[in-house]
Subunit: 480 residues, 2 copies
């Protein structure tokens, strides 16, 4: 089900219900970019990995969120899914102006997969962190108070005084003549409109109501409406204030869904989900802490049960049978013996079916991730001699080895396969790693030669680090 700002309000109760009845939830997100500046290198520890992403990834925007809720159908004896594909775009008003990074290759890729950027910007649902929401609510309360006191007045610059006075006179005439119900003031820039709001507002408080109108989807004009009574003025004021609060609710937007997911405390599954988790926390909850241990605590507090299918597929008995754990490839592998994909239908219009072909749409990727999880989970059950059926409690022993461990794609094949949110991270041996410095003009062969007496074969890896100067290099596995 596609969700934009157009249908978000109606969808909220449906989403709440889906989360409530689900055995587990699957999430997936699309971003405007992956990494800026120094990327993770293969010997980074989980802590260095986190700091690198914190610096290089968090200024990208989260623009699509997939949520797929899997719930058990006792009659059919299989899972059903409710799926939501949210377009997300944090608008500058009434929220704070958002400046964010994009990576051209990421936009290029999304575009080639049919991502609709026009829909994103026009109809994307807004979002914000909790501290921002609090500030916005406080500011609006203050601002609405100041409508009465006029505390925000600014002085009128000399060069604008004549223009403002002329317009005030025109409004006086309009009010006295009592011919039309409203008049429009055109061709004013934003600053003049601001001054007019202030001056007309204080001079004609009880006689006129002011508002900005957008004409032809473009030009802003100031409309002055004659008030028929003081009561009409008050009700227009109340209306305006209510509209401002509605705008705040709209601006908080998708964060409400993210907080529902958190509050449910249910098992939340993702594929290669570290970036999804990082962006989810950073955009909808709180700015990320700079310290790694605090991040682990924060993530675990918001999502007490996380499971990464990419990590799961990297362990026995899947490891040897899965050549590539790219989601699409994993799905293909798990569709063939010795594995099999489970049934997971949906009520018409509420979720996906296998025949849908929408890979890289966040909602569909979440659905596919859920299928992969069920296929692996049921394979394990069959190996234990159980009949595959409804998933047990997420805290059961069968899931324990996979819980709260986030796959670290770029270092996994070296030595830091995962981040452990609820305990110490793996500490890989560095006995076989040499850290060497050498003259700038040396070639790989020069290094191999020196290490050859220690048993290094010519093809062994001297892997350049990300540093440009070529002076520092890692040499790995030379004595393996």
């Amino acid at each position: 089900m596609e969700v934009t700002r157009k249908n978000f309000r109606e969808c909220l109760p449906l989403i709440e219900e889906s989360i409530k009845k689900a055995d587990f939830l699957v999430i997936d997100a699309e971003f405007t970019g992956i990494i800026h500046g120094r990327d993770v290198t293969m010997f980074d520890s989980p802590q260095e990995y986190y700091v690198t992403l914190l610096k290089g990834s968090t200024e990208f925007l989260l623009i699509q969120y997939g949520l797929c809720a899997f719930y058990w159908n006792e009659t059919k004896k299989h899972y059903m899914n409710d799926a939501y594909n949210f377009y997300l775009f944090p608008r500058g008003r009434p929220g704070p102006e958002k400046v964010f990074l994009c990576q051209s290759s990421s936009l290029d890729f999304l575009s080639s997969q049919g991502f609709d950027f026009n829909k994103l910007i026009k109809e994307g649902i807004s979002y914000m962190t909790e501290p921002m929401e609090t500030r916005l609510r406080e500011n609006l309360t203050e601002r609405q108070k100041s409508y009465v006191t006029g505390n925000n007045n600014i002085p009128i610059p000399d060069e604008n005084k004549q223009q403002i006075e002329d317009i005030c006179k025109r409004v006086r005439v309009f009010l006295d003549e009592k011919k039309a119900d409203s008049m429009e003031i055109e061709r004013c820039n934003a600053f003049i409109r601001r001054l007019l709001f202030q001056e007309l507002g204080s001079r004609f408080k009880k006689e006129a109501f002011l508002e900005t109108k957008i004409v032809d989807n473009r030009a802003r004009v100031l409309r002055v409406s004659r008030l028929k009574s003081e009561a009409e003025g008050l009700s227009k004021d109340t209306e305006k204030k209510e509209k401002e609060w509605e705008e705040v609710e709209e601006a908080v937007g998708f964060s409400k869904v993210a907080r529902m997911i958190s509050q449910s405390q249910k098992l939340v599954i993702g594929h290669n989900m570290l970036l999804d988790v990082i962006h989810t926390l950073n955009h909808f909850f709180q700015p990320l802490p700079s310290e790694y241990p605090e991040f682990k605590e924060f993530a675990h507090c918001i999502f007490p049960r996380l499971l990464d299918t990419k990590y799961m597929s990297s362990l026995p008995p899947f490891k040897d049978k899965v050549n590539s754990s790219v989601l699409e490839h994993l799905l293909a592998t798990l569709s063939e013996p010795p594995f099999s994909l489970p049934k997971a239908e949906s009520v018409e219009g509420r979720g996906y079916r296998r025949a849908d072909d929408k890979l890289h749409e966040a909602g569909f990727d979440a659905y596919v991730t859920g299928l992969c999880f069920l296929a692996m989970h049921q394979h394990l059950a069959r190996m234990r001699g159980d009949r595959p059926q409804r998933m047990p409690d997420p805290d059961c022993a069968a899931l324990k080895p996979f819980l709260n461990k986030l796959f670290l794609a770029k270092t996994a094949y070296q030595d830091s396969p995962y981040m452990n949110l609820t305990g110490p991270d793996p500490t890989p041996s560095r006995d076989h790693v040499y850290y060497i410095t050498f003259p700038k003009d040396w070639q790989r062969s020069d290094i191999s030669q020196i290490f050859s007496s220690l048993g290094a074969r010519p093809s062994d890896g001297a892997s350049p680090s990300a540093d440009d100067d070529c002076v520092r290099k890692h040499v790995s596995k030379l004595v393996a």
Copy 2:
């Protein structure tokens, strides 16, 4: 005329011809944002203005460029226009990956004006600076040499050796069997494909040709084609190299147009054009210098004749008659007496007409700016008693006061109305400006009171600076 990567190559000769025959060129650009971080404040000098934009604006992307060439029709005795509206998007390949900033309100605004972001990302023309172009050409020359030497080989990690060997065996069988002409290798991630290119390439150099194919607009597969002869291998190699050079030309893209404009040395007009000039220099020519005097020299060297219609409209005899110099408002004002808009038709499909209503499309804004320029220019001519006709030489005395002065919107009404590219900037008096510090909890009224003995009226301006801490404030015009 809309120009995208689809028709850019065919359009280049047309554009060249338009520039050649023009009396003057008008440009306009759309960006992904305006300013990030500290904005210009009203007492900034032109130098501070430049440094602020350099830090806060140059990481936004230029996504649409309007070019309108006005040329004289001697038969009709009025101007004609050729106009081009370019969608611009610097792709990551073969150029360098581009990471850039966006401002949500700017995208929101463009979207409300009908800007097509899907077209932008799918069909935008690429661009790059001159140093980047040089580097790209050098790199490709080097890379094409290395196809022969195999200098770029990387060692195969132990855990991938079996998979690579298995695939090599399959390819050997395919080549020996001589049944099909090509085979495809699927479900490999990018790293494995890289290793296969290297291994298959060196083992089956004379028997097979390798290429990556994208299937269903999504999955990448490696295709191995049987070579019928050594000559076929060579011609496929040549073809590949030629395609790579074509890709470089496509990546240089719009920069070629910008350089044509520069080389023409013609009068280049814009409305509020400082940001357009800054982005044009920075994206298509060279990274901007950090020093302000160098920037002035650089800008003047690339565009020897610039004219800003917003600056022009801020001088007598226009100043008093133009209430708002927002382009749309200026056009409306110049359509009414004592002004009049000139005729400026176009050959069908080559430019705009007055009836077109495409404000905020860069090409149309350039056209409208050209009309405004002609209207003001002809008004001046009439005041001198001349009959409005073809524009004289751009170096004539009539245009001199407006040439090479860029309007500084945010400080113009205080004291730094423009940047002078060919001479010293205006040095406004600071005699009436006080710089004061005061306790954090003071109100504006506390300051007014202290200055009242010096003649300050209560409404005079104490304008908060951009600093958050409220400790430093400017007080202006207190003794005016």
